[in-house]
């Protein structure tokens, strides 16, 4: 076999393995994506085959729309809550579950179980049962035991109690999944490191955590933070299921995707404006993710 033929052979096999996937991804992701980008340069009210080219008008409109910039701010606030909260909780759970001697499988299952719940179901429990605004809601019942007045959790904007609802529902749903990532990371740590630390007189607990465990978990931590941020950007389901009603969505706690959904898919189908907003959002995600990856020095290992 000549070298050239071998290369051609490899190429053939590469496409046999990757081809079907790449083809599907091209058809069902790249075609719609480019289509969306195309729409963003047109006046596309209620049509996907617009004819009126408007250049950058849609971009200008969406960037000067305070509702859209507000939604970006909402996203920032949400990220500021959810990323550290999930990180700390899932790491703490992993550390504790990893060390517990009895019923480890039980605890792991309990914390992981919510990951099987859909946002529809979780939002239902949160909205209708736990944080129900009337007196029979669980949270209000507990408040009542201490003599407090019922709080309308989702509709009070001052103080913004709805953040408590939104953050806890996602925390409950995803903490277990990230705990598993941390557990896997913990199990990869060489036990010898701990023995060496003990010999050096490091006290179990905080010192070991700071000087051995956390540095060893660095790679996992980076992955977790990255996934958390990407997922926060894509937040849609719980916001939509908790706060929307037949009449629309309140102007607070409205992350970008929810806002774009209402522009582009609502009764008023302004697909041009919606697509422009979506492109802006996607660009932000790319910049943030790539920036974060660079910052953490991710991907260098492979080069």
């Amino acid at each position: 076999m000549t070298a050239e033929r071998r290369v051609r052979n490899h190429t053939l096999w590469f496409w046999i393995f990757v081809g079907p996937f790449a083809l599907g991804l091209g058809l069902f992701t790249y075609v719609p994506l480019l289509w969306s980008v195309g729409l963003s340069f047109f006046d596309a009210h209620n049509t996907v085959t617009p004819t009126e080219f408007v250049g950058l008008d849609n971009y200008q409109a969406v960037l000067s729309d305070d509702a859209f910039t507000d939604s970006l701010r909402t996203f920032l606030v949400f990220t500021a809550f959810i990323v550290p909260a999930t990180y700390v909780l899932s790491l703490a759970l992993a550390l504790m579950v990893n060390r517990v001697r009895r019923a480890q499988a039980f605890f792991r299952s309990v914390f992981f179980l919510p990951a099987a719940c859909s946002y529809v179901v979780a939002a239902l429990i949160w909205k209708m049962s736990i944080f129900n605004g009337v007196r029979f809601g669980l949270a209000n019942t507990v408040l009542g035991w201490f003599g407090g007045d019922p709080i309308a959790w989702l509709s009070t904007t001052d103080p913004p109690w709805y953040w408590l609802v939104i953050v806890t529902v996602r925390l409950w749903l995803q903490a277990g999944f990230y705990m598993i990532l941390f557990l896997a990371g913990l199990q990869r740590i060489d036990p010898g490191l701990y023995e060496a630390a003990a010999v050096d007189g490091a006290r179990p607990g905080w010192q070991v955590l700071r000087h051995i465990t956390l540095p060893q978990l660095r790679a996992t931590s980076i992955a977790v933070v990255l996934l958390l941020v990407i997922n926060a950007f894509q937040a849609f389901d719980e916001f939509y299921n908790l706060l929307s009603d037949a009449r629309g969505y309140p102007p607070y706690a409205r992350p970008p995707l929810v806002y774009l959904y209402y522009i582009a898919l609502g009764q008023g189908q302004n697909l041009g404006l919606g697509s422009a907003g979506a492109v802006v959002l996607a660009l932000i995600i790319v910049v943030v993710t790539v920036g974060q990856a660079r910052w953490f020095g991710l991907g260098r290992r492979e080069e």
């Binding site: 209620n46 009603d245 009764q267």
Partner: protein
């Protein structure tokens, strides 16, 4: 569907699921003559409605009509489906201005020849654009204020006839366990819409297509809605929303803004212990009630536009018996035909009669030019005014600016 039908039938038959439509494609299996049409409805809450519309469809002989019952966000589903060939032929919907201007729906003017005057103008006008009719009003829905007579009496409160009186009454009726008024879990921003403006003698869009609330009276009226919220007289975060009378029936609130459709249930559970009111007037305005109607429309992408229009004419123009049945046998609506509304026994006495009177005297429908973009801008502002105590004047200034721009956009297209 490509899955084995027999397996599905076996699984489904046991629990009696196949009463609805037995076919994979949603089109009837029957060998009936004529083209196949699909007709979409949003999911009505009232029991029996779905069976009723299926019965009507089955009775039509010239085409084979299959009903689709759509849960979830209906407007968004129809908007998406209208972009494609596989959407509905006939659907209930606005239709919206953008759908009309975008050529997505068929001109139905001819269907109403000779009977146009029999349709209530309040709901026919928003289906009319450019002198043509784009949707046939099905039934009229309206909203009104329910109050518990006994609770008002105990608190020494008269049924409020002005917005100020409503604010006072709600405050006096609020106790530790019961709130004074329920305007929906969002404090009213969603359901009230333009109602307070109409009650203050203003409107959303004027006859000549200008912003109708660029007036100091608008800010004054909206500030009073904020007062309700600030007084903590409003029920918020109830398990069901304004459209469901449960909060009112369970005694969580003394007054509730809801739809006419709730009337049978309220009547059944409370007997005589309730009354109804329009939204009370403010300043020099007059009381207001919002009315609306789904219009039966035909998709321009339908492969059988003629047949679809014929079906719409048959169902919503010719078959008065079905129209009456649909309006009054399941939920509670006012027939869109004036002649039918006059005839209906159920609408001749008590609270129902009052509701009909409110509709005639004080009904307003959202103008066709009031597009979703304007609606969103206004609703956002209303929510900020009510819940965050934002300054109504400056909020409204922003809305006026956005709505003018939107009105310019849609006028440019015509």
């Amino acid at each position: 569907m490509t899955i084995s039908r027999r397996a599905l039938l076996a699984a489904g038959a046991g629990v009696g699921l196949l009463t609805a439509c037995g076919s994979n494609t949603g089109r009837g299996d029957g060998s009936g003559a004529g083209p196949k049409l699909s007709q979409w409805y949003h999911q009505y809450g009232e029991a029996g409605t779905e069976q009723a519309v299926k019965r009507y469809a089955a009775a039509y002989k010239k085409a084979e009509v299959t009903v689709q019952w759509r849960p979830g966000n209906y407007d968004q589903q129809t908007a998406a489906a209208l972009l494609t060939e596989s959407g509905p032929d006939v659907f209930e919907g606005g239709p919206t201005l953008d759908q009309i201007q975008g050529g997505q729906v068929v001109d139905l003017t001819d269907l109403l020849e000779g009977v146009k005057d029999d349709f209530n103008p309040a709901v026919l006008t928003p289906k009319t654009y450019d002198g043509k009719i784009w949707g046939i009003p099905q039934v009229i829905d309206m909203q009104l204020l329910y109050y518990r007579k006994s609770l008002l009496k105990d608190a020494g409160v008269e049924p409020p006839t002005t917005l100020d009186a409503l604010v006072d009454a709600a405050r006096k009726l609020t106790t530790k366990k019961v709130k004074g008024l329920f305007l929906g879990n969002d404090g009213g921003a969603g359901v009230l819409g333009g109602t307070p403006l109409y009650a203050a003698g203003l409107q959303l869009v004027t006859e000549d297509g200008k912003v109708g609330f660029d007036d100091p009276a608008a800010a004054l009226a909206l500030a009073k809605i904020y007062q309700l919220y600030a007084d903590k007289s409003l029920l918020l975060g109830a398990p069901t929303d304004w459209s469901d009378p449960s909060a009112f029936l369970q005694g969580l609130t003394a007054m509730q803004w809801s739809g006419l459709w709730a009337l049978p249930q309220v009547q059944k559970e409370l007997g005589d212990d309730f009354g109804v009111l329009p939204f009370p007037k403010d300043g020099s305005g007059s009381p207001a009630v919002p009315v609306g109607a789904f219009g039966a429309a035909v998709s321009a992408r339908s492969k059988h536009k003629e047949a679809a229009s014929d079906f719409v004419k048959w169902l919503w123009v010719e078959r008065a018996d079905y129209q009456e049945d649909f309006a009054l046998s399941y939920g509670f609506h006012i027939p869109a035909r004036i002649s039918l509304a006059k005839k209906a026994d159920k609408l001749k006495t008590g609270a129902a009669a009052e509701a009909v009177r409110f509709t005639t005297d004080h009904g307003y429908a959202q103008p066709l030019l009031w597009t979703p973009a304007s609606q969103t801008a206004y609703q956002d502002a209303l929510s900020r005014i009510i819940k965050s105590g934002a300054n109504p004047e400056s909020e409204l200034r922003t809305v006026v600016r956005k709505v003018s721009a939107e009105l310019d956009r849609v006028k440019k297209k015509s």
